[in-house]
Every structure is written in C-alpha cells, then in structure tokens.
C-alpha cells in the first residue's frame, strides 16, 4: 500500500484506532486540522493505555518515589539507586502477558529482550533477570503448553544473551486461565555518574537508528486494539507477535556499551513497543526539543513499507540514539564492528515538533509537548465490588481441623503452587557472569558485585489471592513479604519496581482494586522506607468479562553489606538450634491450606503490623550481619510447617529438625496458617544469647523451637507429636510434582 492510497482519516478511523471521540477532537485542536493517516497512528499509539498510562497515572502519583539512595525515579526507561562505591543498580520490571498467551515462547522471549534494552539503554550492563509467572488451573488443557513455552522462551533468550535468570516465582490459579502473566525484571550495574537517559538535546545533533532492521512486526500489537474491520485485507499476513533475535540483542548490547564509553551519546532509548514513535516523541519531550525524521533512511526488512508502518512497527532489537555532532563516524564504526545497522535518520530540531518526511513529503508534523502534556488523564469511576464483604468473611466453627497433618503437609509440598521450581530454573542459565552467590531456591537471589564488598539481593513477590480477598492488605503484604525475603538473605531493602496486573479498567470494580492496591503498596513503602523507582501497569487482563486476580507484582532489591555473609534458607549444621522470629496467630484466612484442603478462598487476611514487620526484619538482618546465623527462611504460603520442610531440603544434603510449637489454637492454623512477620532461623547454640539480645533491643518476638539434625522432620505441638516423617518421604512429592505434571 502506498501513501496515496492511505485511508481518509475521519472519526470512525480514529475510533478504530482506539481513540475516543473527545480524544480525536483534541488531536484536531492540537493540529488545527485533520491529522494525516500517519499522524493518527502516532497519536493513537502515544495516547494508548500502554504509553500514556491514562487510567493509572492519577493513582501512581501516590507512590513514594524518593530517598537518598534514588538516582532515578519513575519516568525514565528504568529506575536507578546508588549502591556505593560509585556504582548504581538500574532495574525495572515489565509485563508481556498478552503476547505470551498468544505465542508463549516468542512472547516471553521478547519480554526478556524488551526489559534488557530498558536497562542497557541507561548505560548499565544487565547482570540479573527474574520473572514472576502466573498460569491458570493445572487442569486447563493449554497450561502445560503455555508454561513450557514461556519457560523455554525466557531461557532461550536470556541464556543466549548471557544474562543469568536468578530467581522469580510461579503460581497457578483458574483466574489466570484466559490471561497468564509473564512479568520480567532485569537489573544492571552502571557507574553512578554515567547513567544515560532518553533525552534529545542540542538542535543539530544527529538522530541515529541502530540495531536490527524494521519490518511489519507487531503493528497494532502491544498498544493498539487489533480491529479486524479496518484495513482487513492488508492485515491478514501481519504477525501481531514479534519474533525475538537474542543474538542481535547481544550484539546491540555490546555495541551500545562500547559506544557508551565514548562521549558520543546525548540520549538513547529503546524502540520496543510503540517503536520509532514513542522513542522519538519521548526523547524530544524530555529534552524540550523537536525531531526531524527522514524515513527514507530507516533500514527496512520488507519492501514497500509505508510511513505509517515504519512509525508503528514494533520490530525488536532496535534503539534510537541522539549523537553529539561530530561523533557520527565513531557510532558508524562501532556498529559496523558488531555487524549492526547504525545510520543517521534525522536531526534534533529547535522547533519542538516531530516532523516526519518520506519521499520528499512531510507525512507528519506534530508539536511534541501537547502529545505528552495533552495525553488524556482519566479519572475512571471506582466502586467497591458488592461481593467484597462476602469473600472477606470466614467462619471457622464449621470447619473441621486437620486430622492427618503429615498427609496434609505432603499434599501442600506436592502441590503445583508450593513444589520445587527446579524443573524451571535448571533451564535458565543462572550462573553466567559468575556473580550468583545464592542461587534460585532460597527466599532471595544474591548477586555479588565484582570489585565491591557488597552484594545485591533480589526477589519478586505477590499473592494474587490475598489481593482478591483484600486488595489493600494484599498489596501491603506483597511489599512486606518481598522485603522479608530480602531480609532472610541478610539484605536491607533499597527500592522496588512493580508490575501492576489488573483486569479491565473500564469496570469500576477493577479500578477500585487498582486504587486500593496502589494505596496498600504506598502504605507499606512509606512504613518500611522503600521507594518505588520504576514499574509498569498492565490492564485488560480479562477474558469474557472475567478479570484475573488483582496481581500487583513487587520486584525488590536490597543491599548486603558483606557479600560473604549472604544467607540461604536451608538448615546446614547438625545441632544448630531453630528459632522463630515473630509469633504465630490463628490466621487461616486466604491461606494456601484453606484453598487446597477445603477449596475455600475466603476470609480476612493475616494482619500485617508494619512496625512488627520492621522489627523482625531488622533483627534478622542484624543477626545475619553479625555472622550469628546459619539459615533464614520466611514463613509464607503453607505456613510454618511448609517453611520447616523447605528448610530441611538442602540441595547438597538434606538435614532434618525436631521442633515444638506452642499449642492452644487450631492445629491447622498452627501448622499451615500464614501469619505475617515470621522468620525461621537456624544458628549455633552458642549464638543464642546474642540473638536474644538483638531481638530484645529490636522488640522482635523470639522463641526457641528446637534443633536441627537427623533425617526426619518432627513437629510437636505442645505435648503431642503431630508430624514425624522421613525427609525422603516429604521431598519426593515436592521434587516430583512439576516434572510429573509437565510430562
């Protein structure tokens, strides 16, 4: 299709592009005329939910985003924190949910590719990836295929690029049957004084296109609604899911990092979703400039591409670079060395407009500022769902207590939500770059920083069921638990990134869930002093009017002062004592146990007292920092019984334990209740006094449960022995559940 056969722009075409009639009128007012076809495409992309955050922006303002450690908060390609020694950690999490459902391997792979570019575009070498995955019911016929494909895609892309995938989480629930979640986090290290930003400054500087060629990938993919009615004939053969090329990404990564050692770069941004359009508009917007683009110079992979297609293409492994005048040859040289395209496609201008030229004609001329400032900001209606009160209630009186605790424990350990993830993470190269001090399988992954005494701990966390039962508390717990995971490795939490996965924001119930979760995250962040420095919102995770569980995934990063003291979650010394920080209440609401044993998803969530939480975490961090502790493990889904069993499953040799828990409550709540702010420690007996002192100073509850040793897990409640099972018998279902399901 050539430009003179472009469809005439009118309201119907604008509506088909996902703009509302008010938005279309605003476009006409900004331009003072009817937009061209290419301009309509640009506006529809920039004002899509994906790029403009029009439904969420008003809420996201409520996050705390500052702190002495923050070098870059939200609004850039990724956030950055100071980690000492002149270094910065740059990280962000993003979702690639819909593409992964359509084509799991490529969807997940390009998700990894996109987040990697967000990190190295800032001047950081990516050193660790994590992922947070949600799948539907294990009985759903498509889920095996989806999980296999997603894991394969993450592995295929990440392994090839040479960035270790060091941790993450997976959960299953029918609410994700029609909408799986693939959230990927990446972290890179840069020199704190050499962080690159997506800014176009200095009129006359060159705009370079670098990386792979542009094809018709993903036009109307991530950002636009795929309307079958418009342009139906030319749409049919266009792939809506992009194919990733990790080898090209690896070359792009090395070439960009090499270029960043020079002084050639003024600004740089990924051309991922929303491609050439968002990278040029956003960079000009941040720089207060304009950009002139000459599309005839854009390297293309397919013949006959129109300006509209070039501006909207979501081809992968591309970047837009603003190059200091006079440094053009340097850029060409470096990209030639790495066998990549590196060509000037335009210039920074003073005029403040994005002007796009093609075959001697100007095909778009849009003032940049109004696209950004004028982007719709919606105050969508919110309403607490009518069923919310109902699901928050739980009457335990009619509920039979656990009769056979060992069987219940084995059931939980062998369930897909709690079983070993080794089948997954052994497909990920989690060791390349030789920084992985704590490998997948503990509460948090730990990465040492070469040339620094410190290490970074990373984790992702969210319990979707909690957020469904009580969005605000669920989100608070997600933050607290992520922070607790880090504390268990000995790290002090520094900052977080989030992926807020929700249903259709046009439904007031979903917007209410969203708002509540934002407030919950905000509350916990303020209490624990953890700023939000980057993130992403994914709406419309909904099929046939049924949304997913609200899933505000938290990715969190902490610092361990002395990398050598990084802690794992496994018992490792015979005769160590076992201690619980925190106290166990009678809190079964929302638990994995209720869901599995009684098919009940209801109840008030465990109460989270953020002061108590902080005390427990600080006591744990201090004890680890003093070198007193042998292992630390968070008590989370499945309660203390599951946490004890997991602590026994040391990968290099299991070690049992015998503990006594106080009686006086329902047995199921004692063993499997998910009371918050609890950490299980093991330590040499002679350190007990010092630990007790720390706990007293911090006002963290402390109780001695028993000792490590033997090849069985023995749990007494009061006088009664309720579990006395060989570790081999406990480990079998835990180790075999996932591979057995995958076969």
């Amino acid at each position: 299709m050539s430009e003179n056969t472009e469809p005439a722009v009118d309201l119907n075409l604008a509506l088909a592009h996902g703009l509302s009639s008010e938005e279309y009128e605003k476009v006409r007012a900004i331009l003072g005329r009817t937009p061209s076809y290419t301009e309509l495409g640009i506006f529809s992309l920039m004002w899509s939910e994906h790029c403009s955050y029009k439904s969420s922006r008003i809420h996201l303002k409520r996050f705390p985003t500052t702190g002495p450690q923050v070098l870059q908060g939200p609004g850039e390609n990724a956030g950055a924190i100071d980690i000492g020694g002149g270094l910065a950690a740059i990280f962000k999490m993003e979702s690639h949910n819909h593409p992964s459902y359509v084509e799991p391997y490529q969807g997940a792979a390009t998700g990894v590719g996109g987040i990697l570019r967000d990190i190295f575009t800032m001047g950081a070498r990516p050193i660790a990836s994590l992922n947070s995955l949600r799948f539907g019911s294990p009985d759903h016929p498509r889920m095996r295929y989806l999980l296999g494909g997603v894991v394969g895609g993450i592995a295929g892309y990440g392994n090839c690029v040479g960035v270790p995938t060091v941790g993450g989480e997976v959960a299953f629930h029918p609410s994700y049957n029609g909408n799986i979640l693939v959230n990927v986090l990446n972290l890179g290290i840069a020199h704190a004084g050499r962080i690159f930003r997506g800014q176009a400054r200095g009129p006359g500087n060159s705009v370079f296109y670098v990386g792979s060629r542009t094809g018709r990938d993903g036009i109307h993919g991530a950002s636009l609604l795929a309307s079958a009615s418009f342009e139906a004939d030319s749409q049919t053969k266009r792939p809506t899911v992009q194919v990733g090329d990790p080898f090209a990404e690896k070359l792009l990564l090395e070439a960009c990092l090499e270029l960043m050692k020079t002084d050639a770069i003024i600004g740089i941004q990924d051309m991922g979703a929303a491609g050439l359009t968002s990278s040029s508009v956003e960079m000009a917007g941040r720089g207060g400039t304009g950009i002139d683009l000459d599309l005839d110079r854009v390297p293309v992979r397919e013949e006959g591409m129109t300006p509209y297609e070039m501006m909207l293409s979501e081809s992968q492994e591309r970047m837009l670079v603003i190059v200091r005048r006079g440094s053009e040859e340097k850029v060409r040289q470096i990209f030639r060395k790495w066998d990549l395209e590196g060509v000037p496609v335009g210039e920074v201008s003073a005029g403040g407009s994005l002007r796009v030229h093609f075959r001697g004609k100007r095909v778009a001329d849009i003032p940049v500022k109004p696209i950004a400032d004028g982007a719709p900001l919606l105050k969508r209606p919110m309403e607490r769902p009518a069923w919310q009160d109902e699901v928050g209630r739980l009457d335990l009186t009619g509920l039979k207590d656990v009769v056979h605790p060992p069987k219940a424990l084995k059931g939980l350990l062998g369930s897909l939500n709690l079983c070993s993830r080794e089948w997954i993470y052994r497909q990920y190269d989690h060791m390349v770059r030789t920084n992985t001090v704590v490998r997948p399988g503990s509460d948090a992954a730990v990465i040492r920083i070469k040339g620094s005494p410190h290490a970074l701990a990373l984790t992702t966390d969210c319990n979707g069921r909690y957020c469904y039962l009580d969005p605000r508390s669920g989100a608070r717990i997600a933050v607290a638990e992520a922070s607790r995971n880090l504390a268990c490795s000995g790290a002090v939490a520094q900052a977080l990134t989030d992926c807020l996965n929700f249903g259709n924001p046009e439904r007031p119930e979903v917007m209410w869930q969203f708002s509540e979760c934002v407030d919950g995250i905000g509350e916990a962040c303020r209490a624990l002093e953890i700023p939000v420095i980057s993130g992403n919102v994914s709406f419309y995770n909904e099929t046939e009017g049924k949304g997913i569980f609200p899933t505000p995934t938290i990715g969190m990063v902490g610092i361990i002062e002395d990398a050598r003291l990084a802690m794992r979650s496994f018992f490792c010394k015979e005769a160590d004592v076992v201690v619980l920080l925190g106290e166990t209440g009678e809190e079964l609401g929302g638990s994995e146990y209720l869901s599995q044993a009684h098919r009940l998803e209801a109840g008030p969530l465990p109460v989270l007292d953020l002061e108590r939480e902080e005390a427990v975490q600080l006591a744990c961090i201090e004890a680890i920092g003093e070198g007193l502790v042998s292992s630390a493990h968070d008590c989370a889904e499945g309660g203390i019984a599951v946490a004890l069993a997991e602590s026994c499953f040391h990968p290099e040799g299991m070690l049992g334990a015998e503990v006594t828990l106080p009686a006086g409550r329902r047995l199921d709540a004692i063993l499997f209740g998910e009371t918050q702010s609890r950490i299980l420690l093991s330590l040499p007996k002679f350190n007990l006094g010092k630990l007790e002192k720390i706990c007293q100073d911090r006002e963290a509850p402390f109780s001695l449960l028993g000792a490590v040793g033997g090849s069985r897990l023995k749990i007494h409640v009061g006088e009664e022995a309720v579990i006395n099972t060989a570790l081999t018998e406990l480990k079998r279902p835990w180790a075999e559940a996932l591979p057995a399901w995958m076969v």
Binding site: N159, F247, E254, Y428, H430, V432
Partner: protein, 231 residues
C-alpha cells in the same frame, strides 16, 4: 603467563574467564577479537562459553570460519595449550581440532546445574595438577552438551587416554543419572592426539572462588599455569 581469551560475536563467558585468570589467579589476560589474526603473545588460548553467532545453524558452526581460528589452529599444531569451554568445546569439534560432536541434550532442555565428574588422565597440561581419579564438582550450562563420536573414534579416545573427564556420581561411579546430557561414555572433556587441546563441557570459570561456594575449577587453570611455567 598470559591467557588470550577469544571473543566471538555472541560469546558470553569471556568476562568470566578473564576474571578468573586475571583477578583470581593473578595472571596476565587479554581479549582476542575473532577477526584478529594474532594471539598477542598468549601462552594459552581459551575459547569461552556462550552462543557464538547465536548458535544458529549448529553450535560453533559459523565460528570456525572466523579469521582467528586459523591462528588458533596453527598455535595448537605447534603445541600451544588451547582450552575450549562449553561453546568453546563445540567450536573445537566443529573446526576439527577435536574429534566428535556435541549434540542436543537427551532431555531436550537446556541444563544449568552442578554435576560431578572424574578426572581420567593427568597426562595433559589441563589436568596435571589434579589428583588421579579425583571427583570434582562443576556447574554445566548447555543445551547441546551430549558428546557424540562414532564407535571407532570412541575406542581410539579410550585407548589413547584422551578422555579427560567423565560425568560420574559423587563416589566416582559412572551412572545414567550422573550423565544427564546423555554423552557417550559419559564424556565431559576430550583431548587431541598431542594432549594440548582440550574441549570441556562444564564451566571451571564458574567455580574458582570461595564466594561462589566451589573452587574446584581452579585446578584446571592452575594445571595450565604450572605446565606453562614449567617449560
């Protein structure tokens, strides 16, 4: 001594190897770009792990045509030590510097985990410092690590003592479980006829520091250093 570490487009363990020889073992180290034709005075050449040329077509298939490989072949012919780790092993077999081939893992999946292996000969610059029969623990990370060669070649390798390492259990027994990629004869590493070129599937570069919980990988680098300095 000086290690030269070859960088192909798509290599991704070059920094790991550099770190071990330079910062852990305090030797000289340099990177050699695949389009170079000189080894910059290196005493030992390492072909590091990674996905040279994306592993497209076959692992190592395109890397063998890089200009530096001619120089590496000449260096090997003159007796210089060449160590191919993981993807480097694949490149060595593709180039014909070592016999056999590395094919897809039996499980069809990429595998990243610790394995135990047994040194089979101390008669090489890469294994001389390892106590005979010692069982080592080392991580692997590969999708195509199943060693294959025809029966005649395997026989020859065995007879000539050119099987350098085999996967085994923690007690040194050759079992099916301890050989998860399905390598024939449980082969983890092989030598050329002269013994100065070794292809090795596990990653000694990933286990040479106490902070990573395992220093077994040092033995291989230290063997090369001792052999070279003993000259």
């Amino acid at each position: 001594m000086k290690f030269g570490i070859v960088v192909f487009p798509g290599s991704n363990c070059e920094h790991d190897c550099y770190h071990v020889v330079k910062h852990v073992l305090r030797q000289e180290a340099c990177f050699l770009w695949h389009k170079d034709r000189t080894l910059a005075g290196s005493d030992c050449v390492i072909l590091p792990g990674g996905f040279a040329h994306g592993d497209y077509l076959r692992c190592g298939a395109m890397a063998k045509f890089s200009p530096i490989m001619e120089t590496v072949a000449r260096f090997a012919k003159e007796g210089g030590p060449v160590l191919g780790i993981c993807n480097g092993f694949q490149i060595l077999t593709e180039s014909g510097l070592l016999p056999g081939a590395l094919v897809r893992n039996r499980s069809l999946h990429y595998l990243c985990l610790d394995l135990t292996l047994r040194v089979e000969t101390t008669n090489s610059p890469f294994t001389a410092q390892i106590p005979p029969g010692k069982v080592l623990k080392m991580p692997v990370g590969h999708g195509e690590g199943c060693y294959f060669a025809d029966a005649k070649t395997l026989k020859r390798l065995e007879v000539e003592g050119r099987i350098a390492f085999r996967y085994c259990d923690s007690k040194g027994n050759l079992t099916e479980e301890s050989n998860p990629n399905g390598s024939l004869l449980s082969i983890a590493g092989v030598l050329n006829e002269r013994g100065n070129v070794m292809g090795f599937m596990p990653h000694p570069d990933r286990c040479a520091e106490s902070i990573l919980g395992n220093e077994d990988g040092r033995l291989i680098f230290e063997s090369v250093i001792a052999a070279t300095q003993g000259h």
